[in-house]
């Protein structure tokens, strides 16, 4: 299971980074989303995967070693919510940029890097 998760996580990181390198706004947003998923998956896998077990002590099963760890789940729940907020902000921001700058090409957004602008 860990091996499978490792491959999924790696693919998500690679895919996210690949999309982030593109010039299109849409691919930028997609890249951001994939990158967020990748780090969430990573956190989840790194916490150790226990299959088929609840994350709490049920009646008559005090064996802590067999339970799945609730903390990574709580952590990624927080991370997902935060990621969602930022993704929503990024989408709205890019839409506004598309309206005001009239382009969806990131390479055209060079005005703030130029030396001579006011």
């Amino acid at each position: 299971m860990e091996i499978f998760m490792a491959i999924v996580t790696g693919t998500l990181y690679a895919g996210g980074l690949y999309l982030l390198m593109h010039r299109s706004f849409i691919k930028l947003v997609m890249g951001i989303i994939l990158f967020a998923h990748a780090s969430n998956f990573f956190l989840f896998t790194a916490g150790g995967i226990v299959r088929g077990m609840p994350a709490f002590v049920s009646d008559g099963n005090p064996n802590v070693g067999e339970l799945s760890d609730p903390l990574p789940q709580a952590l990624i729940l927080t991370a997902i919510v935060i990621g969602l907020g930022i993704q929503a902000f990024a989408i709205v921001l890019l839409k506004r940029v598309h309206f005001t700058a009239g382009t969806s090409d990131l390479d055209k957004l060079k005005n703030t890097d130029r030396e001579d602008n006011d």
């Binding site: 780090s39 990573f42 956190l43 903390l71 930022i86 957004l109 006011d118």
Partner: protein
């Protein structure tokens, strides 16, 4: 009897409550300003109180909700947190007066959410400084960043939106890398509590996997603190919003990144790894040099300042790289100096922008003749940045250079002194082009205005610039107290027993 530790809640709960209240008073400017002032005063008083309390009796620690560390929510403040908290509270308080004037930030922006967003950002900054848990640190960082996204884009001008695209994307990547680092740390040590992690990293030795965790921390905080290969987002975005927003963002956000780097690289991980030390020294030297080169090439006041911020982050990383007690004390002092001086240079910039309607060298001039008091405030900050004795920058650079020489890191000391000289060159260019040079004649005749009249129109802005200049001068001429506090901060970072015992020791009682 409530324990004194509960005071840790005040510096971040007050801005949160104030921000929520401000949202209720949407578009009621006066009410929002009063709420902001109230929150600023409470933050200032409580952080000064925390500072004095920590100077008096060691550190403060609170387990929120009563769950024992390392399982509960840990709030812990040592000297480093307290000092930065105080600097941030001073800045937040003075920003109230600066933002009163509509020329530092337009009235529309203030009506549509400037104060709530600002308060949320202060909430995030103060939380990040007080938390004792790396996952909570991530959450505080996000609170701070989302609020800063809003502040950067507030108003929605084309330039602002462009800068924000770069800022949002790169900061999002940094946060994801931070989260990955937390995943690694949790996988290795099974904890997210800083004190607990520190114990585990020091007792069991850092495995190769944990080292990778450190790399992720360095890259993600390196992006947030704008270190050498990772700084390109900063000069692309910091000059775009109104100057009141630029000033607070420039003063505080990168320094919180450095604070997190101090916490992870010095406190959690053992600091005796030579390879890591050299990595930090290399980063520090390149950050200083490349930053200052960038500043030399620019002709816009705000962009020069953006590059100066990058360049002077190098000094703080240099403290981590040298890693001795003295070096870290110097770096802490340098952080405080940098927060106040950089913010004040931006504040002065706002007034210059008001006077000559732009920030360009080619169109500026004559400020010294018309506004001598403002020129004096600029001169104090600029010379302090360059490290002219006896101003604050001199003490910071002096301690760092001394620590480097004692430790035998001659190259980095040479680089830091050269950067100081080049900084002097850069601020001299600003001084000559904007302050001393005669104003260009071909322009439409500018209204001639006496300084008294100018200062009466912009009294809030003048008050802020003047008070910060006084704070900087006080820190310059009476540096003993702040330096001894900085030494205590280095003490708390390097002798981890106090922090660990304070946080984890509460398990027993």
């Amino acid at each position: 009897m409530i324990s004194i530790d509960y005071i840790l809640l005040l510096p971040f709960l007050t801005p949160l409550l104030a921000a929520i209240l401000c949202i209720f008073f949407w578009k009621k400017l006066l009410a929002q300003q009063l709420i902001y002032l109230f929150s600023g005063v409470i933050s200032l008083i409580s952080s000064c109180w925390i500072l004095l309390e920590i100077a008096d009796s060691g550190m403060l620690n609170l387990q929120v909700g009563g769950w024992k560390a390392p399982f509960g929510i840990t709030l812990a403040a040592d000297m480093l947190s307290a000092l930065m908290l105080t600097a941030s509270a001073i800045l937040g308080f003075l920003l109230y007066f600066y933002s009163l004037s509509h020329s530092s930030i337009s009235k529309e922006r203030k009506l549509y959410g400037f104060y709530p967003a600002l308060l949320f950002m202060i909430f995030g900054i103060h939380g990040a400084l007080i938390t004792g848990d790396i996952f909570n640190l991530y959450v505080w960082f996000e609170v701070m960043l989302i609020a800063s996204f809003v502040l950067l884009t507030l108003g929605g001008e084309e330039e602002q939106l462009e800068g924000a695209v770069k800022y949002v994307t790169i900061n999002f990547i940094a946060s994801s890398l931070f989260l990955t680092a937390i995943g690694i740390m949790y996988g290795v040590a099974g904890s997210t509590n800083m004190a607990d992690l520190s114990v585990k990293m020091h007792s069991e030795g850092t495995s190769a996997v944990a080292q990778i965790g450190l790399v992720f921390f360095v890259v993600s905080f390196g992006i947030k603190a704008a270190l050498f290969p990772l700084f390109f987002w900063l000069p692309a975005s910091y000059h775009t919003p109104p100057i009141a927003i630029s000033a607070i963002i420039a003063g505080l956000l990168t320094k919180v990144g450095i604070y997190a780097l101090f916490r992870t690289a010095i406190f959690i991980f053992p600091a005796d790894n030579q390879a890591v030390r050299h990595l930090f020294l290399g980063l520090a030297g390149l950050t200083m040099l490349v930053g200052i080169m960038g500043a030399i090439a620019q002709t816009d006041y705000r962009k020069i300042l953006s590059y100066l911020i990058i360049s002077h982050m190098g000094y703080m990383v240099m403290g981590i790289g040298i890693g001795t007690h003295l070096a870290i004390a110097g770096a802490v002092y340098y952080i405080l100096h940098s927060i106040l001086v950089k913010a004040n240079l931006f504040f002065v910039g706002g007034l210059i922008g008001q006077h000559q309607n732009n920030y360009q060298f080619s169109k500026g001039g004559g400020i010294y003749r018309q506004l001598p008091v403002l020129s004096f405030c600029f001169f104090v900050c600029a010379m302090s940045l360059a490290g002219i004795p006896p101003l604050t920058g001199f003490w910071g650079k002096y301690i760092l250079a001394q620590a480097g020489l004692i430790n035998g890191n001659y190259l980095i000391v040479g680089v830091s002194l050269a950067t100081g000289l080049l900084t002097l060159f850069v601020v001299n260019r600003i001084w000559l082009n904007i302050f001393l040079q005669k104003e260009p004649e071909q322009q439409a005749p500018r209204r001639r205005i006496s300084e008294v009249k100018f200062a009466t129109i912009h009294r809030g802005m003048y008050l802020t610039v003047g008070s910060l200049a006084i704070v900087i001068l006080t820190m310059s001429f009476f540096p003993e107290q702040v330096i001894s506090w900085s030494e205590t901060a280095a003490d708390h970072l390097l002798n981890r027993e106090l922090y660990i015992e304070k946080v984890l020791g509460s398990r027993k009682n």
